[in-house]
Symmetry: D2
Subunit: 350 residues, 4 copies
């Protein structure tokens, strides 16, 4: 299946009944696919008037206790950033998929990873975080999309799956794991129930406005407690070739990491051991795992390789705590750096 | 003068002829002030239909070579984040002032510093940066606003001044330094000139769409070169009590740093030396200065004190490179932590 | 049943599967009712972002061959007037219900008939007409709403049912006649079928843009032919007390006509014979019927009684062709003129 | 000067200081012209986000006592119709120019007169009227535009100048009569003055919401009184060849009437006398003048010739009161009927 279609199907399998979106390349196939598939599955497909509108449609559905998703691409996510901040503040579950474009502005539609900061540090205003997962292929896109619904409901928080145009467009065989189906969850305690107080005795109110300083501080502390819990329980990462006496540790995520693995295999044949630590969750970030992998005795230096001008590298630097030199290599026009190029750069470091 | 009004007047003095905004507490006085003052000064005051509209009005005016500013508050900045990314990509000068609200969502209107991430890591999508200045009072708000226009034009980039409701509302005596007046700059080389090719022989085009990977990469590299230059030339910070054998280094910015200074004075009387390093630019960040101040021999630990749940602390951690423990204290409901509270926290560290 | 709810139920019974609207007093109960009822009936209820949006949602659904309705009130209909003109030009069937407010502008919510001109002469631009029906009570509102779908599809044209707040709010017993259920109609010849050419061999295109003068003239002639056919086949009216030697003929429609009937009964007891001709279709207008009733030998004069400042009276004048004096009486603040008041006015004429 | 530009200049000469618009063919040159000219004249040119926005920008400026104009074309006027109704209800002066497109929907851009009904019977909802002037060439377009401002202020009401694409595009020599310059008018009695009560002791409020039936009725009566006064004082028309014993009376307006004059001249050479009565104001309509001209003894029949499918003809029929047969001829694809064609039709009548 094509990545974009697989993401759509994964939402259906996860029990998502509401999909609202506004078309933007390179993710429009998700909308196309779900425009047909969602009604078949008894759900609602709706194209909003704009991404701003979609953001608030997501908020509305989520506040009403519906399982809901949107997909968009970089500028579209920017337009939703106010709504995302509101959804986080109001503690509602919702799934956002960002199939990134390249560059700020309109940029280009080829693969890129320029939205790391926006996703992990919060495009919107105020103290909130998105739980962000970054798949490296179609199968993982499926699994992370399905898992996103469970995590969103576990934390009553917006969750993002962030891929690039390559994941969206490439075809790979996929399975939809039964154990990632998401069971109905009890939302009677918090979701709006309109005039209907049968479900719960009180009328639930969902809001993000807290004019009383004490109340606002409490809400921010409640959010922080969730993010701390995420840091403890939800960190996901992959190690590659870390059981060797590697000299260099690469940090890379998403499709870029697949190229890095090829480079590592190529270098191994030349007798050069290099390892990869790939964050699968960008927030929470595998802080301790990166520190540990970077400070292995054999390891001389760390390099963050991204399809950007240098974003995740700031988090890597923070985690490495000055124990090793942290380099960076990135391109961000849409041409994915080749394995040979990566090999050259690694050799250059040595 | 009241901070919000002083910011408005500073824009006038700096030669700003275009102010577009949408009202939002706690910054609406800027708009009120400029609705009267801008026409007197021969400029244009315009309230847009929404913050999304304002963002693109700013882009349009900036692309046409006009000196232009908007002011807003947290959710409004989120709504402008797509436009900010476009303006950065298209390399246009523009000044954004964010008088922050507290919390994600609607939150509250009392002083807060919850938008550090949004401002410094990019609310919008893609590889871009805002040059961000954070005043600690009305006089500095004036100076930074005036300077923002010069910096915006120097770099042909969006520049942000980020304050909080306290700065917006408090009254302090102000001077408008003559040497911060901004001379007319020659925009004929790049600004759109419509049908008028008298100014330059060619028709200038301002755009952010680069479908060719090479062209997009080049534009991203050009942006990166600017941000690197900013890091070299524009870092601003203030040191307080750093000429002592301080045991603790506080990092804090904006109005919060003024409370920290009071605490430092109070602790000094008790014989406890504590220093402050206050970033005046949040991007570029005083990375080396913080490292140096943190690693002074007498200094045992660092604490970042913010009116947030912990944002700038991540940059401080990154700069300290594991050489000292980095603690954090923050409140973010709108009640500013008292000097006594800060003293207690510092003593707790010791 | 309350009138507004009965209108909603009538749409369901007529096979309407799509209802899009934006709330506005005094018709919001239609939306409330259908928000629950439409999903039960396997249809779609959708609140648009604005009346402008709703107008184009109606157009889209109608162009796709869906049976679709909206309800609104005066200002909302104005906002839809561009879309109504497009729907007429593009020859798509759709049902609009206008439960009128009083006055231009925001006016008031009490019963009024101020939108006669807008409905019958075309609020939108260009040469088009709406087929307009005006019920005098809840039962007729039901029947006309059901019939509206059949007429819309017969003519592939927008059809309007126009009532007032009294009809919307009052409760009367209602029946939903089985013979007004609308059979599925074959839309394969003209409705958009997207990529699906199974239904018809060619891809249908629905449009209102005709840049070629010949093509535009042809489309306008095709529209005119429909309106001429309506004039021949769809005129509906009611006569009351016309089998007497009445001295005065009242023309009146909607709820206003019910008051006139009471006045006629009261006057009969005093020995004064007065007749009523009530247009049930406002377009096509019962032109010949009014001429005939006005020129009956016993009849000395005609008076148009409306809850407006004088709108239908222009059409009455046109039809009477100067053969009788045509007077007017109207009020338009929301207080319905009383039967006694009408009696006095009639006596004044005599 | 080109008609569209002349209309723009006429507004300037009449003292208009505010022009808000949204581009639409065939009137975009007015906006182009005023985008340069308005700032030169110390006024404000502003392109709105949409015609809906422009309508309310007009309302806002008018309510604040500013002299204000917009220009648009058919669909744009439809989008403004809600605002026009509000402006009428709130009794504010404003000038609307409609350079008509052909057909309902998007139609075409060639000359047409399809918006007669919309202009004269009220596109918007509720009991209101526009004073509508229809120029037959560039000079008259200039004079009517200038006069429109005086009339708008005299009546505190929206006034429309309605032309077609031919008037907008054709070039003719023009003069801007000094006596049509509009003196400043005292608006202190009614216009909003914000916080400023120096101008008048009370704070003026401009509104269109009247929830009290009595108050609403009074406002509607006040409006009606204005329209009655217009009918007495503002009727404008032109007679052509009416001093002969004409057998046929043509009614026609705008550019169409110029073709009719040519036909009349051609027929005169053949010994056939035909007259023209051209309404220059479409509302108020020259009711008595048409009746009088139609019932001249020599006159056997009346024909309304329009670039529409038959709109003004309804008013002509009403005025002729059945005393003569009223025929109609119209084309509405954008090709203006030729003088020869008109001659043939007239001969057919005889």
């Amino acid at each position: 299946m094509k990545g974009n279609e697989a993401i759509g199907e994964a939402a259906i399998r996860a029990g998502c009944k509401n999909y609202f979106a506004y078309p933007i390349t390179p993710q429009s196939e998700v909308a196309e696919y779900l425009s047909k598939r969602m009604p078949e599955a008894g759900g609602v497909f709706l194209q909003g008037e704009s991404e701003v509108a979609v953001g608030y449609m997501i908020f509305g559905a989520a506040a009403a206790g519906e399982r809901v998703m949107t997909t968009s691409s970089s500028p579209g996510i920017s337009l939703m950033s106010e709504a995302i901040s509101y959804i986080a503040a109001a503690q509602c579950p919702a799934v956002f998929v960002n199939i990134m474009r390249g560059g700020p502005g309109l940029g280009g539609i080829l693969p890129s990873q320029g939205d790391y900061f926006q996703a992990t540090k919060g495009g919107g205003h105020g103290d909130y975080r998105l739980l962000v997962m970054a798949p490296d292929g179609v199968q993982e896109a499926v699994e992370m999309t399905m898992k996103a619904f469970a995590l969103a409901e576990k934390y009553r928080a917006p969750v993002m799956v962030m891929g690039d145009g390559l994941i969206g467009q490439m075809m790979e065989p996929v399975e939809f794991p039964d154990d990632l189906k998401v069971a109905p969850s009890n939302k009677d305690d918090w979701a709006t129930n309109g005039m209907d107080t049968r479900k719960s005795n009180k009328k639930n109110i969902v809001k993000s406005l807290f004019l009383d300083p004490k109340e606002l501080n409490d809400n921010n502390l409640a959010l922080k407690a969730k993010y701390d819990q995420m840091k403890e329980q939800e960190v996901m990462y992959e190690e590659y070739n870390t059981d060797t006496d590697y000299k260099v540790l690469i940090t890379s995520y998403g499709t870029m990491s697949r190229v890095c693995k090829t480079s590592i295999d190529m270098l191994k044949k030349e007798g050069i051991e290099v390892a990869l630590l790939r964050p699968k969750t960008l927030f929470p970030f595998p802080e301790q795992e990166i520190f540990k992998a970077a400070t292995k005795q054999s390891c001389k230096s760390v390099i963050s390789i991204e399809m950007s001008m240098g974003q995740m590298v700031e988090d890597v630097e923070r985690c490495v705590k000055g124990q090793r030199k942290v380099d960076f290599y990135g391109e961000c026009g849409g041409d994915i750096p080749s394995p040979e190029k990566i090999c050259d750069i690694i050799k250059g470091l040595l």
